[in-house]
């Protein structure tokens, strides 16, 4: 009797997970494997019409990548976005969380929602809004900076400023999410720790440094990894605001992949970019987890 029940349960278990596994298998796992295979072929516009014209070319696509200046530019730009934008985003989130969480603060839910609001908006729409905010002549940003005597900057038209402009938009758009994660982390720190430290004469900075930061350790791992993975995938901002320009200064890996794959239909070459993106994400995730593990006792 028990055996029959267990069998029924096991059958139901498989039945319940099957729809999800099928979808993930067909529309995620197989395509991911497919991307690897594709990256060893010369799949192009002719292959789209007739698969038979596709040939295996071994590592040719990767060799082409390595010798393509555009690829290195896209890689450098993406790393710039990840290395500068990621930590900045995390820092702003943490600052917002600490401020909102302060004991003196009233109307906490209001501030929490106000900071979180940009996160729920549509990125494409916000990229358009910011494109006008960055307008050199009529933009709000230059108007505001003009009030304090800072000269007009051509934010999106200047290769030096274009990427920082995208980073600013991205930080504004996304910091609310990580702020909530940090808030959850902050609220799980026992109050007694702070009271004990205060009795020992520790000021706010030392309490932050020696209690808050260490206690937030696991939260940092989560926030760091999630933010970094998302940063590697930046696409919509440059697609809408700069089309990768000026002078390719905002061409990112995913934008490059999109253009090679869906504009020029060089799907084999484009798949090699996808594989590089995957490898980079995996490597960066492992490094971050490893660093965290070493820091913990």
């Amino acid at each position: 009797m028990i055996g029959a029940d267990a069998r029924a349960e096991a059958r139901a278990g498989w039945a319940f997970v099957t729809p999800a596994l099928l979808l993930i298998g067909v529309f995620f796992a197989i395509p991911v494997v497919g991307a690897f295979l594709l990256s060893f072929t010369d799949f192009d516009i002719y292959s789209v019409a007739d698969f038979g014209s596709t040939r295996f070319v071994g590592l040719q696509n990767y060799q082409d990548l390595a010798t393509s200046p555009l690829f290195w530019t896209a890689l450098r730009n993406t790393l710039y976005f990840v290395v500068v934008g990621g930590p900045l985003s995390v820092a702003v989130s943490l600052l917002a969380a600490v401020l909102v969480n302060a004991k003196l603060v009233r109307f906490k839910p209001f501030f929490r929602s106000a900071f979180f609001a940009p996160w729920v908006t549509t990125l494409v729409a916000m990229a358009l809004v910011w494109r006008y905010i960055y307008h050199p002549q009529y933009g709000l940003l230059n108007a505001a900076l003009g009030l304090v005597g800072i000269g007009p900057v051509d934010w999106l038209g200047n290769p030096q400023w274009a990427m920082p402009s995208l980073i600013l938009l991205s930080v504004w758009k996304n910091f609310g999410f990580n702020m909530l994660v940090f808030l959850a982390g902050l609220q799980s720190i026992p109050e007694e720790l702070y009271e004990a430290a205060s009795l020992d004469g520790a000021g706010p900075w030392r309490r932050f440094r020696h209690i808050t930061l260490p206690m937030l350790g696991p939260t940092f791992v989560f926030v760091g990894v999630v933010t970094m993975i998302a940063s590697f995938q930046i696409f919509s901002e440059p697609y809408i605001m700069t089309q990768g320009g000026p002078l390719k200064s905002t061409l990112t890996l995913v934008l490059y992949m999109y253009e090679e794959g869906f504009r020029w239909w060089r799907l084999g070459y484009s798949a090699a970019i996808a594989v590089v993106l995957f490898a980079l994400t995996l490597l960066a995730t492992l490094v971050q987890l490893q660093l965290q593990r070493r820091r913990e006792p």
Partner: protein, 273 residues
């Protein structure tokens, strides 16, 4: 005295932050009500001289934004209903039903979370083309249908369901599906709501995949249509801002009413994860 100053400083800082966070959204709304060309003056006006709805009218008449709006609603609602159902039963099964291979399958799924979705997009395009799903609204909703983080979220929540409750229902002769429907589902309602709002949001806001899969103008989702429109109407700031407002309003209003589910979802998911 010092506490009062500290409090004032803190609130001033927070208020400045809130203004900075909200100002792009407020400006978007304000500019969408300005007369054509009004926003393109120096210094840029903060409020419309004489508010007008003409851009909204133009969007829904000559630019047929209504159709794109409807496409987005179908993609997002359809995707959300399916995703909640599919991930709901899967998450529950991974938490509570004992079957061989459960742990290892779940571990593989978790590992899959580090793979960026874009890696799959090129082969998926070829696959969908073979299946005749290119240019269909169903094709556009595929990436949200079985989110791994959703399965993970439901599983974490379902772990706290007491086994005795399930066994009691089974002793009464209920089938596993009955057990799920009448015993488990009511308890999972909060996490399903959280999953629902997140899925709707990601389907509504998604851009890259719809851009790839929807090539026929009539099938565009709202963000794709907006991006396309922006290329043709670069100079029409006010019109574009009205389009941005239309795109953002549904998710924004949804957020105002359902913020509990967003905020609890993020705060709970991350702590347990």
């Amino acid at each position: 005295m010092s506490a009062r100053w500290r409090s004032a400083g803190l609130h001033a800082l927070l208020l400045a932050g809130a203004v900075l966070a909200a100002s792009p959204l407020l400006w978007m709304l304000s500019a969408s009500l300005m007369a054509p060309g009004e926003a393109n003056s120096s210094p840029p006006p903060l409020l419309p001289d004489r508010p007008t709805l003409e851009h909204y009218r133009a969007l829904f008449t000559s630019l047929s934004l209504g159709r794109y709006f409807l496409n987005s609603v179908i993609i997002s609602l359809g995707g959300t209903v399916l995703a909640v159902l599919i991930t709901g039963i899967a998450g529950y099964a991974f938490a509570k039903l004992r079957f061989r291979g459960r742990q290892s399958v779940f571990r593989v799924l978790l590992a899959g979370m580090v793979i960026p979705g874009q890696v799959a997009m090129l082969p998926m395009f070829i696959l969908l083309r073979e299946m005749g799903l290119i240019n269909t609204l169903f094709g556009a909703m595929i990436p949200v249908l079985a989110p791994i983080y959703g399965i993970f979220l439901v599983r974490q929540y379902a772990l706290s369901i007491p086994d005795e409750l399930l066994d009691a229902a089974r002793l009464d002769g209920a089938s596993e599906w009955r057990v799920f429907r009448s015993v488990v589902l009511p308890g999972l309602a909060p996490v399903m709501a959280t999953l629902g709002v997140f899925t709707f949001l990601s389907a509504w806001n998604d851009f890259m995949w719809p851009l790839i899969v929807l090539s026929d103008d009539a099938r565009y989702s709202l963000p794709v249509a907006l991006a396309n429109l922006a290329g043709e109407h670069v100079q029409d700031v006010e019109l574009m801002m009205a389009g941005a407002v239309v795109t953002v309003v549904p998710v924004f209003v949804g957020f105002l009413f359902l913020q509990r589910y967003y905020i609890q979802g993020i705060m709970a998911g991350s702590v347990k994860g």
